[in-house]
Amino acid sequence: MSFTANCPICDAAIHLAADTIQGELLECPECGTELEVMSTEPIQLQEAPQEEEDWGE
């Protein structure tokens, strides 16, 4: 059995394995954003924290 959730960034459908656990990191296949599984019941995804980079701003 697997679950489907939507990417909170690009709204793409993401298929998660049945043994997905809270805290797991995964990558959206469409936009490449690294996502964190915040909860499994219900499935809740959130953008994983990223190290900020200085791009001359």
């Binding site: 960034i9 690009c10 709204d11 793409a12 469409e30 936009c31 490449g32 954003t33």
Partner: protein, 348 residues
Amino acid sequence: MAEVRVSIVGGSGYTGGELLRLLLFHPRVRLQQVTSERFAGKGVARVHPNLRKVTDLRFVSLDQLQPCDTLFLCLPHGRAMQRLPELLDKAERIIDLSADFRLNDAQRYAAWYGTEHAHPEMLSQFVYGIPELHREAMREARFVSSAGCNATATILGLYPLFKHGMVEMDQTVVEVKGGSSEGGNAPSEATHHPERSNVVRSYRPTLHRHTAEVEQELSIHGPVRVHLSATALGIVRGVLATCHIFLNDDFDEKAIWKVFRETYAEEPFIRIVKEKTGIYRYPEPKLLIGSNYCDIGFEKDPRSRRLVVMSAIDNLMKGAAGQAVQAFNLMHGFAETTALEFPGLHPI
């Protein structure tokens, strides 16, 4: 398996060389002749040295051209329309890579190119050459007119948004940045190495001719006005079109993702490039050198309805020869990606 007999008219330029590189490895093509008045009698590898030991073909003069199945025309702008009548009997299908048959309106042609069209009656017979917009028409077409390189990058970047009617029709600003091969292989003082090297040269701030075809193709729900500027960079290949559009409603980025996904999900040569980490977060032309991909990215300005769309191609590939071979594959019922699978190089 039957082969298609193909000849190239005007094959000594950069576009002709790129077509040769692709067609010589096309499994369904027999490359019959390549013409050049300047180099008639000489081996094509003399002009296109990357083809040494790849082919023994020699250039021939146009008056030696034999009948074939498909002709690619790589003549300078203005020359293809003059030569067309004598070429119609030479091949069942013609793909023109000049600007001569891109516009479907003779008055608009005269306004943008400063001269009357030699054969306005032929304009409606050519299918505009971007497969992502005109795939079905190409399958039945006898004539295809390949799109301009800057126009291709711009149109592919903006087409989903105009198709879905999400854009203010007269507020689009496009800045295209291109390499020196866009200008062809005829030298001038401006292309002399000490002058051309390392430039960031505003060479057409307004009235770039590709504007006409961009407006033609994006006028899906009514007339569109596009404000296009072109800048020459100190690179050889590549185009990056940075397009600023103003959305006509408060669409969020998910809505933009949705229209790009719906429009391009099945397209073999379109990739949405929009990543939050990594070195290449948005489209980068140098990664596309030699490939037929168009990479498209976007970012919504959180302070306004402005959406910035970035679209990158190799001007000689998706912007010319690659696009033409993609059209050729459609016209002949071949797999659309045939001879176009090269993914580019990294690092480069």
